[in-house]
């Protein structure tokens, strides 16, 4: 059944150089609709760079099509959740202001947020369990709360494809559970989720697909058939021991 789902994100020949360093070498992905894919690979494998390259945020070469369009034209249907550490959390804005940043497409860049838009942002906060924090300054949040706010901002975008960069990095267990619930609900509602993921032990229970990356794509497919010792050895080397891998 999964094989019959339409492909919503197709990346081919993604190559990225930082000076002498080849960060990505002909990496690729083919993501079907209403799936949850973990991008997995060792440190420095280019997972975050791959996500950014797919969105056109890095000077990478290759082709990316999303929803049948060149990715630049499909951006309105894509929500990107950067790494939490990418921003200054001492920045003087409130939680609701950050979530409203996800609604620019509804308001227009220069427009003000109308009441329905505000309601939508508040609903997004509610979905991640942060409704009571709307008026807090973001500087007062814990790491897990910061991550929930970032997810709420993506929810407020109302996208069909969610690309998340290490959404579980440095968050508490309750936040991790809350985030995975939201992501699974998104998938069950027909949206597509792709996340850079570090914890190999939870790939099986959180995701239904996996993409093994180490500068190039080593394997991609259903967790059951792709998340194997042999494939992991390709990505991490033969020394890796992992009980949950089949």
């Amino acid at each position: 059944m999964q094989s019959r789902a339409p492909i919503v994100l197709e990346a081919r020949g993604i190559t990225l150089r930082y000076g002498e360093v080849l960060a990505l070498d002909q990496a690729e992905a083919s993501i079907p609709a209403a799936s949850m894919t973990a991008i997995v690979g060792p440190n420095g494998a280019g997972k975050s760079s791959f996500l950014k390259s797919v969105l056109g945020l890095e000077p990478a070469t290759g082709t990316v099509r999303a929803f049948g369009l060149p990715v630049a034209q499909a951006l309105p249907r894509i929500a990107y959740v950067p790494q939490r550490a990418a921003v200054d959390w001492g920045f003087p804005v409130r939680v609701i202001d950050v979530v409203l940043m996800g609604t620019y497409r509804q308001t227009g860049l220069l427009g003000r947020a109308s009441a329905p838009i505000r309601a939508r942002a508040e609903a997004a906060l509610d979905r991640v369990g942060m409704a009571d924090f709307a008026s807090r300054q973001i500087g007062a949040l814990s790491g897990g709360q910061q991550q929930r706010v970032f997810l709420a901002r993506a929810l407020a975008q109302g996208a069909d494809l969610y690309l998340l960069d290490e959404p579980f990095a440095g968050v508490d267990a309750a936040t991790e559970a809350a985030i995975i619930d939201v992501l699974k609900a998104l998938r069950d509602g027909g949206a597509t989720v792709v996340a850079v993921h570090h914890d190999l032990a939870t790939v099986d229970s959180y995701f239904d697909r996996v993409l093994l990356l180490n500068r190039r794509t080593l394997a991609e497919g259903a967790v059951r058939t792709t998340f194997t010792r042999a494939n992991l050895a390709l990505a991490y080397g033969p020394a890796l021991h992992l009980d949950s891998a089949a």
Binding site: G19, K52, L55, G56, L57, A72, L75, P76, I78, Y80, P82, A86, V87, D88, G90, F91, P92, V93, R94, D97, V98, M101, Y104, R105, T107, L109, L110, G111, Q137, G139, A140, R153, Q157
Partner: protein, 289 residues
Amino acid sequence: MDEFLTLSLPPMLIAALAAMACALPGNFLLLSRRAMLGDAISHVVLPGIVAAYLLSGSGSGLVMGAGALGAAGIAALLIEAVTRRSGMEPGAAMAVVFTAMFAGGVVLLETTGASGVHLDVEHALYGNLESLIWLGAPPPELLRLTLITLGLGLALALVWRPLVLCTFDPVFARSMGIPTGLVQSGLTAATALAAVAAFQAVGSILTIAMLICPAAAARLLTRSLPAQIAASLGFAVTAAFVGYGLAGYVPLWLGLPFTLSASGMIATVAGLLLGGAALVASHRGAPGL
């Protein structure tokens, strides 16, 4: 009292307006960790003005303003190029570019006829605030700075949301298709405009102080961005009035036979305000620290 209105109030108002014009973009330079860019731009204004004067032979504010904006643009491109080509960190690239351009401007000024006119190195550094008095008509700087300050305030209100988004999270902004490069260039241009306007009245030292000190002090004492900007404007005006007053009147009261540099004193007061804010904030544990 009449003397105050014609001799002291116009330069005080000009200093206050220049400080406010600089504080507006300064808040965003600070938050995007590009405070050094303000330093760079206020320096490269000098070669821009000299080059514009030499090329056009005109000393009009408009021509010099255009030259300064052009120099700021060239500096921004050079900084970008040096950063990209050499892998140098942006702060170092800025330091290299703006000191080289400033030095070039000084050499140009000294070796050509340009220093005969309104331009000399001392004015470039300290401005000539004390000479901006009301002689039958208001000094032209007063009107110009009023218009530029109002214009910058209006522009800020118009682009508020994209500017805040691009300052807080530029990568996310780009993922939404927002032209963050354009927004950044707009901020650079606004900084250049404020620096040019302020430079001719108050010199490059005060311009640097005004781009950063009021915003930095406000950042330490406030929690929300609108409050920070309001406070920075308050600090800017306070520094201008208190600094000018101290420079002009304190030596007089003390019976000293000289006055102090007004723009130097204003910059000093701005620095003291920042120091005071840091003391208060360290006691309170402010979010900006």
